[in-house]
Every structure is written in C-alpha cells, then in structure tokens.
Amino acid sequence: MSARGLAAAVRSGERSARSVVDEHLETIRSGEPEIHAFNLVLADEALAAADEVDRRVAAGEDPGPLAGVPVALKDNLCTRGVPTTCSSRILEGWLPPYDATVVERLAAAGAVVVGKTNLDEFAMGSSTENSAFGVTRNPLDLTRVPGGSSGGSAAAVAAGFAPLALGSDTGGSIRQPAALCGVVGVKPTYGAVSRYGLVAFASSLDQIGPFARTVSDAALLLEAIGGHDPRDSTSIPEPAASLTEVLDRGVEGLRIGVIEELSGDGLEGIADDVRSRLGEAASALDEAGATVETTSVPSTVYGLSAYYVIAPAEASSNLARYDGVRYGLRVDAPNAGDMNTATRTAGFGDEVKRRIMLGTYALSAGYYDAYYGKSQKVRTLIVQDFARAYEEFDLLLCPTAPTTAFPIGEKTADPMTMYLNDVCTIPSNLAGHPAMSVPFGVGDDGMPVGVQILAPAMGEPTMFQAAAVLEAAGSGS
C-alpha cells in the first residue's frame, strides 16, 4: 500500500498506526537477514511512536500528513540518543544529542522511523559495498548491488520494509540507487531541504531527499521535510513547494530536452538497454503532449572530473573532526598527534582515505588553482550551460545510471569504473538543481532502469508533473 493510502487509513481511524508499523516490522524480520538494508532497526521506538500517533487520532488531534507511515532513515542523519554511524567504525558509540531538522519534521508529520539504513561509508560510493558493516543486497536480485551511497534506503523501500525512506545525494546517491532498485528517488534543489543534522560529506553538494515507490509518495515526503530552516545558512528562505496538487497536470505544452552528451551517443558506457528505455520515455512524454527534442549541454561531460576534485576537497575538511578527541573511536597512542593518526587509520575505510588524500592534495599550496580553482570554473560553466538550456526547455532528460544494477564485487577493484556510475547525476549537484529518477521499464537482464528528469532551481513542481506522466507510461510498458 502507498504511504498516502496508509496515512489516509490511519488518519481516518480505519487502521491503527500500530498495525501498520507491526506489519512492516514483520516484513523487515523476514527479509532483512538476506538484504541487510539496515544498520539498526528501531522496533521498540517505532511501536512507541505508532502508539503516540494512535493516541492523537483517538484524541481527535491532527496526527499529521504522514500519520503512522513507516520511514527508513539513511544512517548519516542524526537521531537524538540513537547511534548514527555513517557506516563507519570511526563513529562507533556516538549518540547524537540532537535530531536532524528532517527527523524533527518527520515526527511532526506523524511518520514513524523504523530504522537507520546502510550506506557507503560517509556516503562515498555508488554500491553500498564501502560500508564498514557489510554490503546491502539488491532486493530484486540478491547477487547485485542496490547502488549507493543510499543503497540501504533504496533497498528498504524496494523490499517493502518501509514505503518511504530518506537518503542524501551528493553526486547521485539517491537517484542512482533508486534507479538500480526500481523506486523513485529525488534530489531536491540545493537549499530546499535543511542539511542540519546531515553528517556532511561535501557541504556545497549534499542534499537530503526522498525515496518512495510512487511519484505521489515522494511528493508527499518532500513536502513534509522541505522548507526554510534557520539552522542551515544555505537553506532557501521559502516554504516547501506544493507538489502533490500538481501531479495530475500532465506535460501538455512542456518543452523537454534530451541531453545529448549524457544519453549515449557522445558518452562511453551508457548501455544500449538504458538508451532504449530513455528513448521510449522521451516518446511517452511526447505522446502526452510535451515537445521533446535533443539538446546539447556541453560542459556536463566535465562534471565528473570537477566533482572528484570539489567533493573530496570539501570532504577532506569535513572529515577532519574525526580525530579521536571528542567522540567515536579512539585508538590510544603516546601523544595526541599519533593518537589522531592511529584513530583515523583504524577508523576510516579505503575509499574514505582515498578521497581525503585526493581532497587534501587538491587544496594544497601550489595546487589549489590547478585543481580546486579550475574545478570551480567548470562548475560555473555547467551552471551557465544549464541556464542556456533552460531558456529553451522547461525540463531536461537523461539516464540516471549508465547500466542496471551490477553484480556485487564487479567494480570494487577499480574506483574509476565505479565513479563513472555518477556521470549523469553529478551535473545537477554541481549546479544545485533538482533532479529525480523514475523507474521506466527494465533492462535486458530484467533489472529496473531509471530515467532522470532534471529541472532548474526550484523547478520541482514541473519536474514532478513529468515524473507522474512517466510513471504512468512506464508501469504500462
């Protein structure tokens, strides 16, 4: 059942929140051992929260738009008194003394948190294989990855553990696993959702966003978590956009551009089946009344390179605080400096270390201009290219990921092939624009394919209109 349906049933008293949560906890108990979507299942806390929703319904109070709906949280979102690990040993034992803004807003909306989901350590990865606590498996084929870094959240929704989940997307970490698991995933406009309480990877790129099985549920969740937050200086001073009310408006008259550079012909590695589904999606939008054309956004091809300078640079600074002094892991040594080194050596995994080194190098005296400075210029070019494209088009279209879900272990040996998974998603992070992945058919291997819709800043309503059309067309195909 959809989140919308569950909330309606709970709000009307037709179903108790406890029964809804119980049912999902039962699904988790049976499916979780082989999928491993969660770092932590919060069964007791979830039931207590469900009882509180039921009390509010019984008392005639408004229990909120997500009353009784189970939600899974990526384990880099701070939860008061509940372990928040980022799937890293270095945060072992740390209990945040506060809730992230999105966690507070979920509670206010009546949602029930059922657990903290697995991720690539500190959200660095595209397969959830970089977790210190083991890999998450794709519920549709247990030999394959769920994508990443929010693989646990995507898998939880795909497996029916929760109808909704939150992830974070720095270079595609919501959209790519959504595509690989066959669910809807949204990266909102930078600043549309507060980052307060999201453990930072790359601050200028990170955004929290929803996973859901339907476009409508994703809209419902984004409405609940979005809107201005004074605790985040980069938060847009606007209320959350209304999305659920625009879903049935269709795409009649919309101009949609298919990004040439990210759709196969110009780009190595986009699989034929993915390219075919994209073409069918474009046709579906065309048939629904949109004008669909191929267009060029040339600098997007440099996005990946710029991203792998900017994101590690910011990460090298953001992750400096894990030094063993105040919280988390400490490996003792004779003096403070050696203790820092020993702690970080033991606490971080290989990918995190790789990116800290990349970023430290890129910011070093004498290299800054050549790497960080140049990458920021590329970023500006991408913003300008998008701006030009959006003079002609309302939305842009391209694949979410180059391929369907790949086998566990296939790409772990070569970081570069892993990084290429994000080639289509990264430009939106660099530009700060919204983008979402909508399932659209399957590949030759029977695994889901995601189509990505891109919009200019604050363009979520139009983006969701097109997503609803694609969803309807895709489910029929």
């Binding site: 910011e314 600074s317 400096a320 605080r321 403070a336 910011l363």
Partner: protein, 482 residues
C-alpha cells in the same frame, strides 16, 4: 609612515621593524556561529552546544551582533568595510572542535585602514577580519607541552567565541611605539563596545612580527613572529630581546631564519617553535556552509552614525579646548577625564592647569568632583587665592566628598595672605639673615637660585606651607633690584 624620526635604536645603527596582529574577543552575547553563550570562565565545557563542539551534522549560522561589532571596529580603524567571505583554515589541533577554523582569507570584512597613535602619527591597518576562537588545552605532565604531556584536558567554552583579528602594517619602529599602538587599539575597542580588551583574561592577544635592518636600508629584514605575549610589558621585553637576537645573528655573519617563536616570560627570551618550512599548509577554501556577508550601505551608515566619540576625537577636542597639542591631551583622555576637563575649561578654567590636575592629582579618577567646582577651584588657584599645594589638597577633598571649593578652602584654613603681610615677612627674614641676603644679591646665578630657595623655605616654615612660592620670589627680586 614617518616613524623613523624618533624611534630609539636598540642597537646603534640598527632599526627595528614591527608589525602586530591583535586578536580581540568580541563582546557578543553568544558565539560567532551558534547560540551557546560567549562568557569567560565557568565550569569547563558548559558554554557549548552541538555547533560549538563541531558535532557531526551541525552547521554554523552567523551571529549578526558579531558582524555589527566587526563593522564598528572597521569604521573606528578607518577601514574599507566590504562584502566578505568566510573560509576554512585547516589544521589539526585537539582544542579546535572541527579541526578547521572558520576565518576569513582573501575577502575580509574590513580592508585597509589606519590608526592614529596618541602622538599623532598614523599606523597602517592591513585588514580586520572575523574568525572563531579555539578551545583551551591544558597539557598535564611533560612540562606543559602537548608532545610530551601525560594527558591533555580540553575546555571548549571558548571555542567559537567571535574574534576580530586586526593585522597592522609593519609601520612600528620601537617597543614603545608597539605598546602605544596596542594601548590605543585597546582604548578604541573598549570605547566602541567591541571588546573588553583584557589582555590578562586573554580577550585581547598580540602576535608580534619583528625584523631588523641597518638604519637607512629600504628593504625589510627577514621577520620572526613571536607568540605568547600576554601583557604590554611582555610585548616591550619580547621586542627588545628579539631585535637584539637578530642583530647579534647578523653581526656574527649569520642569517635570520623566518620562524615562529615563543616568548618565555620567566626566562625573558624567545625560542623557536617552527621554521617557515615547517609552517602549516592551511589549505584555505571558501566555507561552503556559510553565504557571503554583504552588509548594506544603509546598515553601515547606521552603525557609523551610532559610533561613540573615539579616543583620537577626544584628544583633538580636548587639545583644542585647552590650547595644547594632542599629545599633551593624551593622558587625560586615557584616564577618561576629558569630558570633565572640557566642561571645566568651558566654565572658564585655564586649560593647562586643568590638565596638570588631571595628570598629577586625578590618577585614581575624579570621584565626586564635578566640572563646575573643578573650574571654580582652578580659577581660585590661577587668581592667587590658593597656592598649588593648597589647590591639590582642596581637590582631593572635592574628589572624596564633593562640595564648593571656596567653602572647602575656608574650612581647611586656606586664606590667601595679603601681599603687604607677605612683604613684611620677607623684609623681616632679610633682616634676620644678612649673610644669606648678601649672597643672594651678589652671587652668581647658581648662588642666587640656592638662596632664593632658602628664603622661600623660611617663608613656608613661617606660614606652615600656606604661602605662594612664586609671590615670594617676586618680592625677593623686587627687593634685590631696589
């Protein structure tokens, strides 16, 4: 700057060049990026919150009051107040919660400006930027240094307290000038309410760049930065030591290495902390969690309009009122007595006498003395109704108890001696001491001075110190000339 003219040389033939970096804690209610209180003291780790502890997921939000105080500092130092960007300064240290400091780098809130010393000379200000303070470490065992310590304790109460870092140009040429600069800067910061300026509590800290060069050489020598200077006295001592050390090196045929050095107050010397090669690479980059600060012209104008009178303006005002130069007005302004002095002068008191009293007799403040009675007292003194000694005594009564100086003088038995009465006394003393009188009238300048002192002393003795020494000398001169 034309500081060369008067700077004393530590070693003959050598000139000391000094540039100071002053960190002052801004007197805000809360920290620079969070609502944790900005309060000195308190139990360790109580004035903290997730942001000032740099906990994962926390984000900085800029304190508007800190920006306003920083702009006040900029305006008071005649700086260009401009759009600014925060940057991260990355280095590992246990008392820095995030292992980076949020500071400003290439775009500081205040650009170039200047500060005028009490003697009227101007010192360049290169910039004055906002940044957050660190916590405080206590290293236990191993002589109190981090690398040898048995363990270290960290108190994050100070972490995130707003600082303004004021970078002065290398325009100072002596320890005295450096002390004068810091004193003036402190007076400005206190006057505008930006900081309490307490060096002993660490709310104002001075790092000092020192180099030396042969007098007449245009290029600067290689500089060393001295840290851990905790008082104005240390500042002067450290500069003197460091300048001599550098001159000794050069005269011995060695080179000065660019270093950061630590001042040891007990030993009275500096020692090397690290060389230029060992300096940190701070890997500055723009702080992505904050947006640029772009204060509007309206806001800056409003802050400017609300600025109180600055020490420099107070010196100018008093100097003009008292018809003296600004340097002569400096001490009275420094003591905070200039409002009183200006008002007393406006009531007709002689400016120079007012300043003499302010400098010599009101070191501990004016107490209950008001401008009207101060003026009345000075007028009695200059009118010959009170001697300088009597005026001083009356003044101390007015400071302690207030009141009318005429009544106080009467109560103290201070009556001006009739001039005829005084002449009769002098004539009697001349008759009683003929040898001394002869020596006075026929002796050389020195002898005459000595004997005038003798006769004034005798008059004072006879009048219990109530006579006016100048009047006595005038009578003696008249008698000798007759």
């Amino acid at each position: 700057m034309n500081a060369e003219a008067t700077a004393p040389e530590v070693v003959p033939g050598w000139e000391t060049v000094i540039g100071l970096e002053v960190h002052a804690e801004l007197a805000t209610a809360t920290k620079l990026f969070s609502s944790a209180p900005n309060r000195f003291g308190g139990q360790p780790n109580t004035n903290v919150d997730p942001v000032s502890l740099g906990l994962p997921g926390s984000l900085p939000v800029l304190n508007e009051q800190a920006v306003e105080l920083a702009i006040r500092v900029g305006l008071a130092l005649n700086c260009q107040v401009q759009r600014s960007v925060f940057a991260r300064k990355n280095y590992f240290y246990p008392d820095m919660p995030k292992d980076f400091q949020i500071s400003q780098y290439d775009l500081p809130i205040n650009g170039e400006g200047w500060l005028e010393l009490p003697d009227g000379r101007r010192v360049g200000i290169e910039r004055a930027h906002l940044e957050e303070d660190t916590g405080k470490s206590t290293h236990v065992g191993g002589g109190g240094r981090i690398h040898e310590a048995g363990y270290s304790l960290v108190d994050y109460n100070r972490a995130g307290v707003p600082l303004i870092e004021i970078v002065g140009a290398p325009d100072l040429r002596s320890a005295e000038e450096a002390r004068s600069y810091v004193g003036e800067l402190r007076a400005i910061l206190v006057a505008i309410g930006a900081s309490d300026g307490k060096m002993e509590e660490g709310s104002m800290r001075v790092d000092c760049n020192v180099s030396v060069r042969p007098v007449g050489q245009a290029e600067f020598g290689t500089r060393c930065e001295i840290k851990n200077i905790n008082s104005l006295r240390s500042l002067g001592r450290a500069i003197g030591y460091e300048a001599r050390r550098q001159v000794d090196l050069i005269t011995a045929g060695e080179r000065v290495e660019q270093q950061t050095r630590h001042w040891n107050e007990d030993e009275g010397r500096t020692h090397k902390l690290r060389s230029k090669e060992e300096a940190y690479d701070y890997r500055y980059f723009p702080e992505p969690d904050l947006v640029p600060v772009a204060p509007s012209d309206e806001w800056i104008d409003a802050i400017r309009a609300a600025l109180p009178m600055l020490p420099r303006e107070r010196r100018l005002r008093l100097a003009e009122a008292a018809s003296v130069d600004t340097e002569a007005a400096a001490l009275t302004v420094e003591r905070g007595l200039d409002d009183l002095a200006v008002d007393a002068i406006a009531e007709g008191a002689a400016g120079p006498r007012v300043l003499v009293h302010a400098e010599n007799n009101l070191a501990d403040g004016a107490g209950r003395l008001d401008a009207a009675s101060f003026a009345a007292l000075v007028k009695m003194e200059t009118g010959g109704d009170l001697t300088a000694t009597q005026a001083k005594t009356v003044l101390s009564t007015l400071v302690a108890d207030g009141g009318d100086p005429a009544i106080v003088a009467t109560d103290l038995g201070f009556e001006a001696m009739e001039i005829g009465e005084m002449e009769a006394l002098v004539d009697r003393l001349i008759a009683e001491h003929p040898d001394d009188w002869a020596a006075f009238t026929s002796g050389d300048e020195q002898e005459r001075k000595k004997k005038s002192g003798f006769f004034v002393g005798q008059v004072m003795k006879a009048t219990s110190g109530q006579a006016d020494g100048r009047a006595v000398n005038e009578i003696l001169a008249r008698r000798a000339g007759a």
